[in-house]
Symmetry: C4
Subunit: 266 residues, 4 copies
């Protein structure tokens, strides 16, 4: 295998599909959101992506069955006849950070593939690392074209989640969540990235929930969040303990303020 | 040389051959097993694989003769007219762990090659790192398809070696032992990986023996293990000393329990 | 995306254009010089270069708009009918130093591209790291062919900046500033590299100014340096403080002389 | 530039040429030997090899002229009408050790190239790192085919230098000195590698001299070694001082014996 390959299991007929991405990254936020969305919508797997840029290993799944590292495409047919369908991607991993050309190759193949199904709009989901959380995690938004800001703001109206639109330049979105928009733009696609604030070093269903709340609002669909809520509660318990420890440590030895600039989002 | 290349020395006519892999990895388990199998069966070398992804060096062999790093294919004609023949691969090295695309390329070429000889079934051999051995080393099994578990269990009946079939998800098989199954599966091949428990930091003929016992049981052949037994005895002596040292160290400074999760097998 | 790609926005008709390069490197000297030149000349962007060898990320620009990492080509039409036009390249980054083949690929594409517009002469700009600055920063010059030295010396006559021409062999010019000349030479192009002395660890508009003074002298054009002067003054203030700290440290613990050989320029 | 390229400056007509390699490596032994051979024979440069796998930089040569990193091919027409001609390669660098595929590509291109001129025999030169030198440095020999040992031993008869032929397996020849033989062997070429004992951490003309003595003996030519002798004397002086320091340090803190196994040669 010299190139990233996509195995098609079924060729669905999709109506103006939106491509929603959620792959492993900071706090596993994107992947948790995508997996939950797939589960709640009963989305159907229709393609698998394999890449020589993924780890050279197989995972041992349930009952001692092995599988190559992969990403998976799911589709969802909108029951509303006027609604748009979805293609959702999730997976085991992204290309390692040491292999930039691999990232570009994999994301290029993803775009080639979804373009065949008529995708024009892309929504990417991920985490946005912050040193400390204050209240509910917020969601950072970034778009492919300036003209889209009002479009998405209008769609997000009434969303319970606080969405941040930065005016100043700065920061980067690393990995597929960024590249899909950047490379999609070169193909006349458009879209938005929604990144949930997360401490990053913990699997973070709470951040996944706020991101998914914003995404479903944009998509005009509603899903049950209770499974994610439950995992979030467990995590919150862990977070509280971690933060208590951190505060104890900070009080002892470090200044309370931390450098927030130049961090990468994923 | 820009690509992995296979030099064919002879084109044997093989009857439904099983492909058995044993390349260097944890405890050299796979390679020891493959080399012993080749020696005992008097298998015949018929092809050599060279790759630009191997180390950029030649090895100095006996009598100052140099040879490129390589993997070697052997075949064995089953004297039983109804039995299946074998293709066995062994070699100097695997692609270094920093070069995932190289691994995928090399394993892809191996599969291309054995497919020409009609291979449908693959058995991979390797080590499975554990922090401490209790009694005889066990063998971890993993298969390409869930439907194969009963098939292999039936073949393994009566095998003196304890074979473990994990039900829960977890862990990975790194390198050729994993990729051959994962990538073979995409070509409608099937098979099993058999990994012997090993401390990993020592050449481990004992683990190789238990793996080979399981493999020969599956293949329905019998081979003399005495050479491997002898090397195993020597190693056991070394292991005993190492373990004594470890225990002495552990008693002094560390808690006896160690983290066993998320380890990779090879 | 498997290869470096250049997107053409406009196809200008250029008269014997000189290709001027200024990409990020030591002290950001080259990029500052190129950006200032573009701004003062009101040069027009006409092409963008994207590469899988750049970081796998998008930058978040003003108003939450994302953009792939890129380099940008600008052109300037010389109002003097007998004068030569310019192509200027600037950008977000160079290929990381761990990826030499990526550097060669990107620079090769740049040369392919500018050759289409008739470029024969190349001027590259960058920083040249020194342990301490004495007086005004000097500019190190290096050329593609020995016969050019007198040519450029004549053009530089009257330039306020001290330009150094080393007679002895030694040192290297790392990255695009070097490769453009070295690879251009293989295509019968010619040119000069002008590297401003810089401490390197600080954004250095003062070094950019001396480089740009030499470059504009060679090009026979005049531009307003006041914006660069202003940034240089700010930096000088910072530099003074840094140098005071350094001197204080040196007096305490280190010999005043430092090894200057075998440093790379960029 | 996506691939290693060779620029031909002249197409000489060569009689059964022997290909002699001497590129930078341990103690610069191979390069010193090749450069000296070229100089004494007045060999003529006829081709340059450039590679995207070399460092992404230009070297600043005499009089501020830049040149891409390169390897150079020289030829020598044997004045003896029945004698064989030579192709000699030297250069600025080898591919960095982190890029094995780059090594294979470059060496493959070298072999493609010299094959066009009818090369069948290859002699590679390099250093062979030892922890301490005892008396004159010896030369380690290794060949492509066992049948060649007597052939080369006969040619080396009367050579003042002690040539070692190891009977036991072990060690490796890293880089072009090894790959040229290993890869040449796959093309029905044959040859020998001659590696001079060297401490490795110092430019070592003395080791270059013993290697070159053996090589010229094999080639049946005689060259003046005085320039190399002179550099060797200077180095010997330095070596004496280094060794005195080492002995002083060893006496204080380390056991005199060192591990010699598993070292790589270059």
């Amino acid at each position: 295998m010299k190139e990233t390959m996509i195995y098609l299991l079924e060729r669905p007929n999709l109506r103006d599909p939106v491509f929603v991405e959620g792959l492993p990254g900071i706090g596993l936020v994107g992947k948790l959101a995508a997996d939950h969305l797939i589960q709640e919508l009963n989305a159907v797997k229709f393609a698998e992506l394999y890449s020589p840029h993924f780890m050279h290993q197989v995972l041992i799944k349930k009952n001692s069955v092995v599988e190559l590292m992969k990403n998976e495409f799911y589709y969802w047919k909108n029951p509303n006849e006027k609604g748009r369908d979805l293609i959702i991607i999730t997976g085991d991993q992204q290309v390692p950070p040491t292999d930039s050309p691999g990232h570009y190759e994999v994301v290029g193949k993803m775009l080639d593939f979804v373009q065949e199904f008529g995708v024009r709009e892309i929504i990417t989901m991920g985490g946005y690392q912050v040193p400390e959380l204050q209240g509910e995690p917020k969601v950072l938004a970034a778009v492919t074209h300036e003209g889209l800001i009002e479009h998405y703001k209008a769609k997000l109206e009434g969303c319970q989640v606080e969405v941040i639109w930065r005016e100043d330049e700065g920061g980067a979105i690393v990995g597929a969540a960024g590249l899909l928009l950047g490379m999609g733009k070169l193909r006349s696609m458009y879209g938005i990235s929604l990144l949930g604030e997360s401490l990053g070093y913990i699997v973070d269903p709470k951040a996944a929930k706020v991101v998914l709340s914003a995404v479903t609002k944009i998509l005009g669909i509603e899903i049950n969040m209770s499974a994610l809520d439950e995992r979030a509660k467990e995590t919150e318990e862990i977070l509280r303990k971690v933060q208590e420890m951190q505060r104890a440590m900070l009080e002892q030895s470090m200044p309370p303020q931390q450098e927030e600039e130049d961090r990468g989002y994923l």
